[in-house]
Symmetry: C2
Subunit: 444 residues, 2 copies
């Protein structure tokens, strides 16, 4: 029975371990942090996650989608909060299509419990001190104890954006690597349930306060609270650096998020206490050196604006499992094929995630963009085989490659730019020849 060591008991490490253990591998996970199920604290990034079709497909394969749904809330669209005036609404897809708001820790528990049930051994408080890629060997200290040398048949680096396994790749020759921070950071805030335990905003959607150069969002939780995230520049006139005193924070929220401020009794405390965290895109290649593999955020960390980081990681696991099946567990075939297949998709979703920040913070409040969405969803309704909007290809498909979705999205953008440039389009859009628009996509 081949032995697999997995670095990281996060979402991807845990899920991949379930797949591997169920295939009969002896899997051991080494996790740097304490067991969040016991300690209560979840040390990871805690942005609420938006689970969509790719993630769901992988969970369903493992029979875990039901457990996830118990802890998740469906969101059918975006509810848009202008500074003044009434809330707008943009559905994500067709009637009934939704993404799921779920806390990272709740979802992590689902996959980690399943890993242990499948016989995976998990060592928490494990510090990886050294990784030897030539010998496929790692030195680990568990609970501050003496260094143990582990010699698995294969090592999986699923230890996130700041991967310790990847650090060994960086020491090796000819490893391409980039990390790029955006100028915005994020800070978590909250909207609690009302005194009688009710949601204070509609719970069926992701709420956005788009403010062009920055934004706040809110995702519903099962306890009727909302987790808010302010995405905001670190430096400059309007920035974390510029909001220092409680008076500054309060008057900024009064001016910028007046409706939300009403619902945030603990704002000042949270604003001062919660960290302003950075947002990074990590790209690298190869993902495989000898018998060690990088996967998930360790291979391709992205910014959170498309809600695809975890979904892409879960899709990694599903595809890795399919390759094991296809190549009859011949890892020498699986490893190179996995990185060859997945790298272009990881690059594409990284771009999509960066682009979507602009869409969320700026375009969603633009009437032309709203019209474009309306026209595209009409085309999709009429000719679903010919035209699927980019958002739906990324979010509601579980088999269109990210790279193909990106390419098709670029062509759609060009076609729609021409459509939208027609005079009086806002008035006349219902009279468009939707079929001929859809056909343009087929004949590039």
């Amino acid at each position: 029975m081949r032995e697999i060591a997995v670095a990281g008991a996060g979402l991807v490490g845990s899920m991949l371990s379930v797949f591997l253990a169920r295939r009969g591998y002896k899997v051991t996970i080494f996790e740097r942090r304490a067991d969040f199920r016991k300690s209560g604290g979840y040390g990871g990034r805690s942005i609420n996650l938006a689970l969509s079709s790719r993630g769901l497909r992988a969970l369903a394969l493992l029979g875990l989608d039901g457990k996830m749904r118990e802890k998740a809330l469906p969101m059918y669209g975006r509810r848009i909060h202008p500074v003044a005036g009434s809330e707008g609404y943009m559905p994500y897809g067709k009637e009934g299509q939704c993404i799921y708001s779920v806390s990272r820790s709740a979802l992590n528990q689902v996959v980690l419990d399943a890993a242990e049930e499948a016989g995976v051994q998990v060592f928490f408080n494990s510090k990886i001190q050294q990784v030897d890629l030539k010998e496929t060997q790692l030195q680990v200290s568990v609970d501050g104890g003496p260094t143990r040398v582990i010699k698995p048949d294969y090592l999986i680096g699923s230890d996130g954006a700041y991967s310790a396994v990847r650090a060994a790749f960086l020491q090796s020759d000819r490893f391409n690597f980039s990390q790029d921070y955006i100028e915005h950071g994020y800070k978590e805030l909250s909207i609690p349930a009302s005194a009688n335990g009710q949601f204070q905003l509609k719970q069926d959607a992701l709420h956005i306060w788009p403010r062009e150069s920055f934004m706040m969002i809110a995702l519903p939780n099962p306890d009727a609270s909302f987790t808010c995230t302010l995405f905001f520049p670190f430096e400059g006139a309007t920035s974390f650096a510029g909001l220092k005193t409680s008076d500054q924070v309060k008057s900024f929220f009064e001016k910028t998020f007046p409706d939300a401020l009403q619902l945030m009794p603990d704002l000042l405390n949270e604003f001062h206490e919660n960290p302003s965290s950075s947002l990074v895109t990590v790209k690298c290649y190869p993902w495989v050196k000898n018998r060690t593999l990088l996967i998930g955020d360790a291979a391709h960390a992205i910014v959170p604006f498309y809600g695809q980081g975890m979904n892409a990681g879960f899709e990694d696991c599903r595809i890795f499992n399919e390759l094991l099946e296809y190549f009859k567990d011949d890892w020498e075939m699986v490893l190179p094929e996995f990185q060859r297949l997945r790298k272009p998709n990881a690059d594409a979703v990284a771009r999509l995630a960066l682009d979507n920040f602009i869409e969320m913070r700026d375009l969603v409040s633009d009437p032309v963009f709203q019209l474009q969405k309306k026209i595209e969803s009409r085309i999709h309704e009429l000719y679903p085989e010919r035209w699927t909007p980019l958002y739906s290809m990324v979010t509601f498909s579980d088999d269109i490659n990210y790279a193909d979705a990106y390419q098709t999205g670029q062509r759609q953008k060009q076609i729609m730019a021409k459509v939208l440039s027609q005079p009086e389009i806002a008035k006349n859009w219902e009279k468009l020849d939707f079929l001929s628009i859809a056909e343009q996509l087929q004949t590039p």
Copy 2:
């Protein structure tokens, strides 16, 4: 007297130390390697360098250009070796313009000797174990001795493409970083002097054997030998991986570099003994964290195909010195201004260096490209104020920013593409209206 710690006694660290020591700073260099002047071995990259105007300007400011010239050989152009047929020649610039072939160790000795003469203290065999960017503090072990804690006023990381100081930047938040390897590596070979001590190829030029997807070059040395460098893919049909046995190497050289093979009696031995080294581009930002600065290759390592890596590093030193002068040694002004000024130029020269590989290995043997060079140098001759070829802006100017040179080069390329598309241009080029071509560059 402010104390400056410099990591690395290479070209840039040594030169910057001369500038700083002469301004009155107390400068200490920590160099990982042994003193190459004593040990005889030079552990650094040993591609021969091509010193051009930017490097010369910095050396001349320090009065070191004379010493350099004693050890260098002028190269006035490229001598191009086809597989069969006679050698071609392309001058680099105008009559008399040249670049200098000099060994890295000879040039390093010039600047390092000057640093010691200026009172700089140099510790060799110094391992930097830790860098604390917040406290501007480093832990160093010299000659394997106990760890010393150094607390300089400012720390300069001039420790090359694999900088240990930069490793501390990588641990810090919001540091953008990329390292990109090209698919080619390089291997050093040699053409010795003849039995009676003569050059076996013309010594007034850089020799190129362009072979489209790869190339070999040769630079003259004062001892009448040539240092050859084969730039060659690591993997694939024609690659280092594909040339394993002596028979394979020999028959490849017979077929590909028949004239050179005649002059390389030690080829097989060198081919097997010398490493195949990789070629990387490093970009990062910021270059300054608190009171620590990255400079030279540590901030912006590039591939060697434009011969500008060292020239860019020496230009860094010259400009850093000018900023100290301008801001009256106020480092809080100098450091941010230095990175702001230099970053776009570092990015530009990185692109130029990558582009020039294609020019060297492929285009130099293309008749259309040769014609373009001829036309451009005619325009430059007639209207030197209006049109300077890209190569000359990069190589023979010491005051045109790399970024400006790159931009102008892009416009020149567009203009020349139109010129070269004219029918019968090879026959009629002398009848072109050179003034009107030159004027197009002024009115973009």
